[in-house]
Symmetry: C2
């Protein structure tokens, strides 16, 4: 069978697997990213395993999703959450190790292409894809094409400054969207309020609060946890309303850990989104959950990068 | 000679003319837009004059730039500065009157296509075009294509909300970019400060202050006028830095009345732009004046819409 391999390089794990033309994940494996001190060691291990998986298949190519991935150069550039520093020519390293053509883009772009190829954005020409995890990633599709931008680094909506002199971001600047609208942002919100002495059933918790705790507290009716989701939705809703002025999408897809909070996140986000939309866009644009299966999305997304661009491979 | 006609519908005047394939404006005329109580009267007058101009030429098509123009539908939709209300099927009306194929888009998109076809963005695949006049208009080009969006109404950067609960905008919302970064925004800035009792050589002026007055005052070294340009550049620079996160352009072009203030506007804008850019974009992206001739830009832009899309005509 003709297959492509999808590789998702994450700060903790690197997931990879084979995907057929219909979007079926045939086999998947995982290795811990931080185990590998130099990128070449990871490339060799993953390549060996992929070639092993492919014994009864024809490997057409490889797609890689990675933080700070540069599509044009096939490189990872200064990714703060990976163990390797500087600019890493990852696509070339994989091509050398596997002798298969290889494409790379940032992880959110890969997932957006996955949504377009196998998910809820099939046949959709204009949409925005947002991942809400540790940070906020995004992929923009216009005229049926991923927007990579002049340098291959477009679609960094997590680093739009939404509050002047706001929260310190991992990028070194202040007030970036992802410091508010992400699983980490939600935690910062409630921790700031707890420090100010506001009451919540989470106050007495010994271990650090994680976003799942805030979700559970909100489900139980905890007012502060509910307010934290409301605040997150306010910031995200306004930011998405502003985003519409750029590309006028048909749909905005939300994906990732925080999106799993469903109505707790979607209701306030959509309400503030509609409140802040320019009149010509009102009541036209849907904000919906991604249709990608969460445990397969990263691999599917990376693989669909390869399936979508067979002519470039 | 094969020509197209370019028509620029403005709140005050409607300019039109013939343009050859090299971007030469062969003939131009103007009619006052407000003279025409219904759109059909304008269409009839302008069509008659265009057909008259074309007697020794072959008219291939017509391009129209208009405020709130919808590219897909060929309509003007709820344009606040035009004398006609509701949705107007202007492209169809012109096709009926001239029997020439007709394309329409918003005025800033048309100018962006003009920049790409005849100006400083030739062969450029990713750029942002900003018009700074009464309001702030914009056109986004990615992958060598104008971004029209799902509904044909993309590229409304003037209505990105940059200050929560900020200045009241003509769109009915508060804090839109164009209430600060436009000729009107510059006037509002200095008038607010004068009302607060701040000193400027413009304080005693009997007639309402226009943006040219502020320019002249700044040139003479008036501290408040200089501060007004600094403030405009601060707001615009940050907004453009945020815009880069969307489409990662090679260049940002500034056009229109306020852009003519040159260094007074460009210096603070570029400084605040670089200060606010995400590190991966720093020192890569140019902010430059448009290369379109100001008195011909609107007609050229509209005409290039037609030249660029001959296959659709």
């Amino acid at each position: 069978m003709r297959v492509v391999a999808g590789i998702d390089i994450g700060g903790t794990n690197t997931d990879f697997g084979l995907v057929d033309e219909l979007g079926n994940c045939l086999k998947t494996e995982t290795v811990p990213t931080k185990k590998f001190k130099v990128p070449k060691d990871l490339v060799n291990e993953v390549s060996t395993r992929i070639l092993e998986m492919c014994k009864s298949h024809q490997l057409l190519g490889i797609g890689i999703g990675a933080p700070n991935g540069n599509y044009y150069k096939g490189t990872i550039e200064f990714a703060p959450n990976l163990p390797w520093k500087g600019i890493i020519p990852l696509a070339k390293l994989f091509e050398k190790a596997t002798h298969a053509p290889c494409l790379l883009t940032n992880d959110a772009n890969a997932a957006a292409i996955g949504e377009m190829t196998f998910g809820g954005a099939k046949k959709m020409k204009d949409f925005i894809f947002i991942t809400l995890g540790t940070g906020l990633g995004s992929g923009l599709v216009a005229n049926g094409q991923m927007i990579y931008g002049h340098d291959g680094l477009a679609g960094e909506l997590g680093h739009v400054i939404v509050i002047k002199d706001g929260r310190l971001c991992g990028c070194g600047r202040k007030g970036c969207l992802e410091t508010y609208a992400s699983a980490t942002g939600l935690k910062r919100t409630i921790n700031e309020w707890i420090e100010q002495g506001k009451k919540t059933i989470l106050s007495g918790k010994k271990e650090p609060i994680v976003s799942a705790d805030i979700f559970m507290a909100a489900k139980k009716g905890d007012a502060l946890a509910l307010k934290a989701f409301e605040f997150t939705g306010e910031i995200l809703g306004l930011a998405l309303a502003n985003s519409v002025n750029y590309t006028s999408p048909k749909t905005i897809f939300l994906f990732g850990g925080l999106a799993n909070a469903k109505e707790l996140l979607f209701e306030p986000t959509i309400r503030h989104f509609e409140e802040n939309l320019l009149n010509i866009y009102k009541n036209k644009i849907k904000i919906v959950p991604s249709k990608l299966k969460e445990n397969q999305a990263a691999i599917l997304g990376a693989a669909s990068l390869a399936w979508n661009q067979k002519s470039r491979l």
